[in-house]
């Protein structure tokens, strides 16, 4: 069974938000839904969304690949996103990134054998004053990270003890984030710590 097969109300609620000529706009919430639920968008769901929206799979991929929040490959329980834009780069994010990849033994698109970690280089996260910066999944920002701080964080996460972020995400991510026209919430629930993996 495909992802949206048993969720006709959700699809209807998403599509109802846009006028008929703007049906393509529903691409983003549909992708968000699958990404939230599965932590990545498999090829099968790309086809499915293309069919629902009435566009080509190429276009779904084009939209998806533009945004770094969508992933075509499975992610670890903790998706570590290292900011690589100017301020962080000047503050040593390149070294931090190399150290992270080396420590975990993975490169972008891979997951550690224990399923805990995946890594990604992202563009500015908007916290330039506290560079260098790592975002852990949807949990929050870890700021002014030195290598020691990073290793301590990784060790804590391996032990299953999350020390909490330095700052929460500036944009609050809803649980059940598909809001319909009446304001009711639908869709996959976002659980902390990526537990719905």
């Amino acid at each position: 069974m495909r992802y949206f097969d048993d969720k006709p109300e959700l699809v209807a609620a998403i599509l109802a938000k846009y006028p008929p000529q703007g049906r393509r706009s529903s691409l983003m919430p549909l992708l968000r839904e699958v990404q939230t639920a599965l932590h990545y968008v498999p090829a099968e769901q790309i086809e499915e969304i293309a069919e629902i929206v009435g566009v080509t799979a190429t276009e779904v991929r084009a939209v998806m690949s533009f945004y770094s929040t969508y992933s075509t490959v499975p992610q670890g329980k903790y998706h570590l996103q290292v900011c690589a834009t100017l301020s962080c780069a000047l503050a040593g994010s390149d070294e931090l990134w190399d150290d992270l990849c080396e420590t975990l033994g993975i490169s972008p698109g891979e997951v550690t054998p224990d399923g805990l970690f995946s890594v990604q280089k992202v563009e500015c996260l908007g916290s330039c004053g506290t560079a260098p910066l790592v975002q852990v999944g949807e949990l929050g920002y870890h700021e002014r990270l030195s290598r020691q701080d990073l290793h301590a964080l990784l060790d804590a996460l391996r032990r299953g003890e999350y020390p909490g972020p330095h700052s929460p995400l500036p944009v609050f991510v809803h649980s059940g984030q598909q809001e319909d026209a009446a304001g009711a919430r639908h869709g996959a629930e976002l659980k902390p710590l990526g537990e719905n993996l």
């Binding site: 000529q21 080509t56 799979a57 190429t58 276009e59 991929r61 084009a62 690949s65 533009f66």
Partner: protein
């Protein structure tokens, strides 16, 4: 609307972009993403200019400056002129230091990740990026880091190969597929410098995909068939027309060392705009296979190479007792008007009525023919018994244009509007304006709301009945009748209907609905040849109808029902027919001859020979001359000049001095005769054969080394 470009004033129609206004004024800006017939999107940011406009105050009068002149409100930053609409009194500056600096800076940005492997790039020498960098760039780059590396050999299909490193993200190819054939095939994947072009639907459709090679401003999309065959300055360019089908697209044929290496589309705003179909583009791959370069003569049961003198001696001795009136002359319908009138004259000299050309239809419509331009602007189109993808592919693109509903781009002094602001990405299409009635699936089915499978003649009868008010409510025939009743509607009929003799019915439908009627001719010059006496005369036999003592057959691939006792074949290759001939004369292909063709609109267009090595191959006129010489006769048409003179007498037009866009002429009354040798949609088979040859040649480009 008056616009001032660097203090030159030009008058342009409302809705013109600033880019077209400044080109109209004789100025130039660099651009990579704009292209005639495509929507302007301002992706490359190269065409930056400084612009400002006067404004009207609340009283409706121009706001004046201290000198009492309308005050120019300058836009704060340089603007991309392609997406900027010109307005009344606008002032555009293209020559200031700020503009030069902005343009040079953009060249530098564009070149950041461009690999500069121009020496190995097939686009080198004809590359927009090379030219614009030279004209507008600093000539140096301050970028010292590693360039982006990506896949340099990424085949999008068998015929088109992508070099991802060279791509400068102008989006022309993405827009082309969405806007022109209306098939979204490829898109940008990723973003920023990592962006690359790809499609996940598996390859490119092989109908019009080659056009993206022409429009790519850099060497990112390349013709895999002509890969590494020559540099652009080494080619001999010949501006001619394609003889593949009756559309008559303008093309440029590029040859090197006597070999046609590639064909590219040429802008003809009234016919093909700038697009050609893949079959026409890659047809040269097949044209050069197994070419005959000398005459062949049957000796001891075998066809052996011979000289023209030997052929003449042979024919002279063989034709001694043959009455000239018993000699048959048959040709394919893709010969030029010049060859046609020579054929007609030869038949008259022989006194033979055994003359015909094929494929052709028995009838021609008596109604005025719509032009392709009118087809593209029609309010609705009903297609009956035609598969345009197989019979006249580029006419399909004009129908897509009709479905998009935009008027054709205006023409300026610099040519077709480069940035026509009426065109946008993802324009709404109107599939309700198109109805198709045919027995087999056609390539346009995906674009039409109304598609009915079945006998097109029966469908036309039902439409005719519906036009007279005898139809059930809500039948597809009633809908089609309503489409045809719209002012400016066009009925298109093709081979399936015409071969079944349904043209009179189509005429009736067109007359009673007021729609224009476009009957697709059977071959690239079938329409023109209909105005020459090339049909069986009194007591004359059609091709293969009677056992003749002698017949000369030019470029027909169909085997006759009755074989003549002495068969002379004039063909480019040793076809199945030629293999059974007694004499084979080498022929030139449509790429290699000079003459005049008449396309489906009735437009006379000049055909010019490409610079290719053809050996002793000739067109039909010398072949006819040889036959007459063997009989001791002499025709008034013995060469191109005399043929042109004869055509001038017949049609009152000098075909040797046609304007570049061709000429729509009244050719008088056609000569018609019933024929059972009906046209199958042979262009489809032609296209399939040519594309197969092109693929083989593209594969051979790579296999050469493997074999070594």
């Amino acid at each position: 609307m008056k616009v001032f470009v660097d203090d030159r004033a030009v008058e342009v129609p409302a809705g013109t972009s600033a880019m077209d206004a400044l080109f109209e004024a004789g100025r130039d800006v660099p651009y990579f993403c704009s292209l005639p017939y495509l929507s302007p999107i301002g992706a490359c940011r190269m065409c930056l200019v400084e612009a400002g406009s006067p404004r009207r105050g609340q009283d409706g009068q121009w706001i004046l400056d201290d000198q009492g002149q309308p005050k120019i409100f300058w836009l704060p930053k340089p603007m991309a002129s392609c997406t900027l609409a010109a307005s009344e009194g606008m002032v555009i500056r293209t020559q200031t230091d700020a503009v030069r600096k902005a343009q040079a800076g953009m060249v530098e940005f564009t070149l950041l990740n461009h690999p500069l492997d121009c020496p190995t790039c097939d686009k080198g020498g004809a590359c927009e990026l090379q030219d614009r960098s030279y004209e507008y760039g600093y000539g140096a780059s301050r970028f010292v880091f590693d360039r982006r590396h990506a896949d340099k050999h990424y085949p999008l299909s068998d015929l088109v190969v992508l070099d991802q490193e060279r791509c400068i993200h102008c989006k022309r190819c993405v827009r082309y597929f969405e806007e022109i054939p209306g098939q979204e095939m490829i898109d940008f994947i990723e973003r920023g410098v990592h962006t690359f072009i790809d499609g996940y639907e598996g390859g490119l459709p092989s109908a019009f995909s080659g056009n993206i090679v022409d429009l790519c401003p850099v060497g990112a999309l390349l013709d895999n068939v002509a890969r590494f065959r020559g540099r652009n300055w080494e080619y001999d360019h010949t501006a001619t027309i394609c003889t593949g089908c009756s559309v008559g697209c303008s093309v440029t044929v590029d040859a090197r060392n006597g070999r046609v290496e590639r064909i590219v589309g040429r802008d003809h705003p009234a016919v093909n705009e700038r697009w050609i179909c893949d079959a026409g583009r890659f047809s040269h791959a097949l044209e050069e296979e197994g070419r005959l370069t000398t005459p062949l003569l049957r000796r001891g049961g075998e066809l052996v190479p011979a000289s023209f003198d030997e052929v003449l001696a042979y024919l002279t001795s063989e034709l001694v007792d043959v009455p000239p009136a018993q000699i048959g002359l048959y040709s394919s319908s893709d010969i030029t008007l010049e060859e046609g009138i020579a054929l007609e004259a030869t038949a008259q000299v022989l006194g033979s009525g055994h003359v015909d050309h094929l494929p052709r239809f028995s009838q021609l419509p008596a109604l005025p023919r719509p032009t392709l331009h009118q087809l593209a602007q029609a309010s609705a189109v009903v297609i009956a018994g035609a598969d345009l993808g197989a019979e006249a592919p580029v006419a399909e693109l004009r129908i897509q244009e009709m479905l998009r509903g935009a008027a054709p781009p205006p023409q300026f002094r610099h040519g077709t509007a480069i940035a026509d602001l009426k065109l946008t990405e993802r324009m709404e299409r109107h599939p309700e304006r198109l109805a198709i009635f045919s027995s087999a699936p056609t390539s346009l089915d995906r674009s039409a709301d109304l598609v009915v499978r079945g006998d097109p003649q029966a469908a036309l009868s039902a439409i005719a009945a519906a036009l007279e008010g005898n139809a059930q409510a809500a039948s597809p025939y009633l809908s089609a009748a309503e489409l045809l009743r719209r002012p400016g509607a066009t009925l298109v009929v093709g081979s399936e209907l015409q071969a079944a003799g349904g043209l009179r019915l189509a005429e009736k439908v067109a007359r009673s609905s007021g729609a224009a009627l476009l009957a697709l001719p059977a071959d690239s010059n079938a329409l023109g040849l209909a105005y020459l006496r090339l049909v069986p005369g009194e007591g004359g036999a059609a091709y293969g109808e009677a056992i003749l003592p002698v017949a000369l057959v030019s470029r027909c691939r169909r085997l006759p029902a009755q074989w003549p006792r002495l068969l002379i074949v004039h063909d480019t290759t040793l076809s199945a027919l030629a293999a059974r001939a007694d004499v084979v004369l080498p022929a030139v292909s449509g790429l290699e001859k000079q003459g005049t063709l008449v396309n489906l609109e009735g437009r006379l267009q000049a055909l010019r020979p490409a610079a290719s090595e053809v050996g002793e191959a000739t067109d039909l006129i010398p072949a006819l001359g040889l036959l007459l010489q063997a009989l001791g006769l002499r025709s008034p048409v013995r060469g191109l000049i005399s043929a042109q003179r004869a055509l001038a007498q017949r049609f009152g037009a000098r075909v040797q001095s046609l304007p570049p866009e061709g000429a729509l002429l009244d050719l008088g009354e056609p000569f018609l005769a019933e024929t059972h040798l009906q046209h199958q949609p042979e262009v489809g088979a032609w296209a399939a054969a040519h594309l197969a040859a092109a693929r083989a040649r593209a594969a051979a480009n790579r296999a050469l080394e493997v074999a070594k």
